[in-house]
């Protein structure tokens, strides 16, 4: 009987394979580990090359998203032509970036100029606090100063922005070519993958990534803008210096999970402490900012994002640390989107699904079988 024959053949095959499979599998894991290490190392050493490209990718994506939004605008049955949509999208993005960058640039200059004076004030304030609590002064002061080097922090941030601005030309080149080439992307995917099923799966992955990214970006922009506005208003109300700057920083920092919020609370509060030399104001401002961050970041944000970004907080922190190590500050901004893409991609293949489940918060992964079944 053919059935028996077939099963006999497969038994023979498995018996032979069983001896081979263990070493092959072991070498797969070992090689996988080596590859991951190498990739991380390469990403790290080629940061100067990769970061402009990644920024260009983000910009390209944003331009496309805005253009798509514009093309769907209901203008009484009249649709904007595609070409005009893209021009408008590029123009609006450029204007927004120009505005934000010039504001940051202006404020960074002011803060940089004032930073040394603040540092000195900070030292005095700290020694006051320490005497108040009867703590050993010199040792702690020296330790704290190492961590609270305001000039250093501000200089690092400023250097990041300047570095990005210096790469503008390269970023523009990349973005331009991505926009120019995108008409071929569809054909490329088609020609790259011969198997129809795999092609369908890849398209599903791209669509899922697209949907979750769009949601992530809009929600984050909205929440960050709200956070920035609230921070600005609170600081303005208490007349803290550089309230504009800190409002903007709160907006920007909100894209970095956890650590960003922490910085957005701590830095303005410390500035307030130094400025007013009053612990009470410091606590009030700190708790107000904290309340804003918690309400917006931990209550409203997850509600709005829902399950679209189902990632375990532990993994987020781990990814944040890893990307921070690999690419510095730009890496921190990218840690969540990259992790989300990884989860979506890994979730689509049976072999890698366990890893995706490990990365999620609830352990549930949306896939085609669930929907169909």
């Amino acid at each position: 009987m053919p059935n028996q024959k077939k099963s006999a053949a497969s038994t023979v095959a498995t018996a032979a394979n069983r001896r081979v499979i263990a070493p092959v599998m072991a070498s797969s894991f070992a090689l996988g580990f080596i590859v991951v290490c190498l990739v991380v190392y390469l990403l790290h050493i080629s940061a100067t090359i990769m970061i402009p490209f990644v920024i260009a990718l983000c910009l390209w994506y944003l331009i496309n998203a805005i253009a798509r939004g514009l093309s769907r605008l209901p203008l009484g049955g009249f649709k904007l032509p595609r070409f005009l949509c893209f021009l408008l999208a590029i123009a609006s993005l450029a204007a927004a970036m120009w505005f934000v960058l010039s504001l940051i640039n202006h404020n960074v200059r002011l803060v940089m100029a004032a930073a040394p004076g603040y540092q000195e004030n900070l030292r005095i304030a700290l020694s006051q606090i320490l005497t108040y609590f009867h703590l050993e002064q010199e040792v702690l002061l020296a330790e704290l100063q190492q961590y609270l080097n305001i000039t250093g922090i501000v200089a690092a941030l400023a250097a990041t922005f300047t570095g990005i601005a210096g790469k503008t030309l390269v970023v523009m080149f990349y973005t331009g070519f991505l926009l120019y080439e995108q008409r071929y992307f569809d054909r490329k995917i088609m020609n790259m993958i011969e198997d129809k099923n795999t092609e369908k799966r890849v398209r599903t992955i791209l669509k899922r990534i697209d949907i979750s990214m769009q949601r992530y970006i809009w929600v984050k922009v909205l929440i960050s803008a709200l956070t920035g506005l609230c921070t600005y208003l609170i600081l303005k109300f208490y007349n803290v210096d550089f309230n504009q700057f800190w409002g903007l920083m709160a907006f920007v920092l909100n894209f970095i999970p956890y650590i960003g919020s922490l910085l957005a609370i701590a830095l303005p509060s410390i500035i307030a402490l130094i400025q007013f030399n009053d612990l009470m104001t410091f606590f009030i401002i700190g708790s107000l900012l904290g309340a804003v961050q918690i309400t917006l970041g931990s209550i409203i944000d997850p509600r709005m994002l829902g399950d679209s970004l189902n990632i375990s907080p532990i993994m987020i922190i781990f990814s944040l640390a890893a990307w921070g190590m690999i690419w510095g500050i730009p890496g921190m901004f990218l840690s969540i989107p990259i992790l989300a893409m990884v989860v979506v991609t890994l979730g689509q293949f049976p072999k890698t699904k366990p890893i995706a489940i490990l990365l999620t918060k609830t352990g549930h992964i949306e896939d085609d079988e669930d929907k169909q079944g």
Partner: protein, 373 residues
């Protein structure tokens, strides 16, 4: 019926395939690393290889002329002729470059001083920079645009290559001597007929495409260099010969080359005339000629010859520049083209070739031609 074991032949195949990919990746990274650390040895060899290739191309080209009794000149004579031509060309170019570099180096400090003055003046006039940033900008400009140093670096590159001349000449001579055995060698190494045919096919396609690339580029570059010379002479800019010649070489570097070839003469013009309008005129004319040559004539002549995605060309430029510096920039396109052609000839790696292509459509895999018995 026995329980179907997860250990079956197909998963073994998948694992083995994955292992091959991972090993390939590791090998590629190591290859890049070897290129990086072995640059002092490899670059002269690559230059020699390139010149050898050029000699052969010229020899073949000379073979097209039927000079004497309807027959082309004998091969050895043609080879001698092409060697003589190349030597003469290199001598003339290097003498010219050397003379000009000496001039430029002598003038550099004067230019630098005048450049700084003009930079400050321009920024003051544009009102871009506020009080504190003016000094910063000057310092920044001094740090980055150290003209003397830049030219010294260029000169050092040329001198370095000249110092390697002996090595390069020996390499070329050996390659010329050995080339008659190459075909036999490849045949002997690859005993399997199908593979031999495929290797031959790859070499042939690479040969045809690179020849066309170099030929078209050389022609357009020569035209570009001549036009640059004419434009600069017309406006009376200093070092017109030098920049005209530099334009010839810079044209071989994608994107960045044109940028340098336009911006440097414009900066020189700005310094020389101290007049924004003249400088803008020079800029406009140069941009116009570059745009016509680079974006109309070049694509018209080149057609879809190499079919490489601009995004990957820039990436390749960045990577090659990181590994091999300036010589790497010249090789960015040819290397990428060779990679794409090779990958495109094997079914397993074809998707990568599609990814590297501009239009997503690449030449079909060549079937081994049936030889008549």
């Amino acid at each position: 019926m026995p329980r179907t074991s997860p250990v079956n032949a197909s998963s073994l195949v998948v694992l083995a395939g994955a292992n091959a990919w991972m090993l390939g990746f590791i090998a590629l990274v190591l290859f890049g690393y070897v290129c990086l650390v072995g640059r002092d040895i490899i670059i002269p060899f690559v230059v020699a290889f390139f010149l050898w290739y050029l000699l052969n191309a010229v020899t073949r080209f000379l073979g097209l002329f039927r000079i004497w009794r309807g027959k082309p000149l004998p091969r050895w004579l043609r080879m001698c002729l092409s060697v003589a031509m190349l030597t003469a060309l290199i001598t003339v170019v290097s003498v010219l470059v050397r003379g000009n570099i000496e001039d430029v180096v002598r003038e550099a400090p004067k230019f630098q001083a005048s450049f700084e003055r003009i930079l400050a003046d321009v920024f003051a006039r544009l009102g871009v920079a506020q009080e504190p940033s003016l000094a910063e900008l000057a310092a920044l400009a001094k740090e980055h645009v150290n003209i003397g140093k830049l030219i010294a670096a260029g000169a050092a590159l040329m001198t370095g290559l000249a110092g390697k001349t002996v090595v390069i000449i020996v390499f070329i001579a050996l390659l010329l001597y050995e080339q008659k055995f190459f075909g036999m060698k490849i045949r002997r190494i690859l005993r399997r007929r199908a593979i031999t045919m495929r290797v031959h096919r790859v070499l042939k396609v690479v040969d045809v495409k690179i020849q066309r690339y170099v030929g078209v580029k050389a022609m357009v570059s020569a035209l570009d260099s001549f036009l640059t010379f004419v434009i600069l002479t017309f406006y009376g800019v200093d070092f017109a010969v030098f920049w005209g010649m530099m334009a010839f070489f810079l044209h071989f570097i994608p994107y960045a080359g044109s940028f340098i070839a336009i911006s440097m003469p414009v900066v020189i013009a700005l310094i020389q005339f101290g007049d924004l309008w003249t400088c803008l005129l020079v800029l406009g004319t140069l941009c116009f000629s570059h745009a016509i040559l680079g974006h109309v004539l070049d694509p018209y002549l080149m057609g879809n010859n190499l079919n490489l995605s601009p995004v990957f060309i820039i990436s390749s430029l960045a990577v090659c520049a990181m590994i091999w510096g300036v010589p790497g920039m010249f090789l960015a396109i040819p290397l990428l083209a060779i990679l794409a052609i090779t990958l495109g000839q094997f079914p397993q790696t074809r998707p990568l070739a599609v990814l590297l292509s501009k239009t997503g459509k690449i030449d079909p895999i060549a079937r081994p031609a049936r030889k008549a018995p």
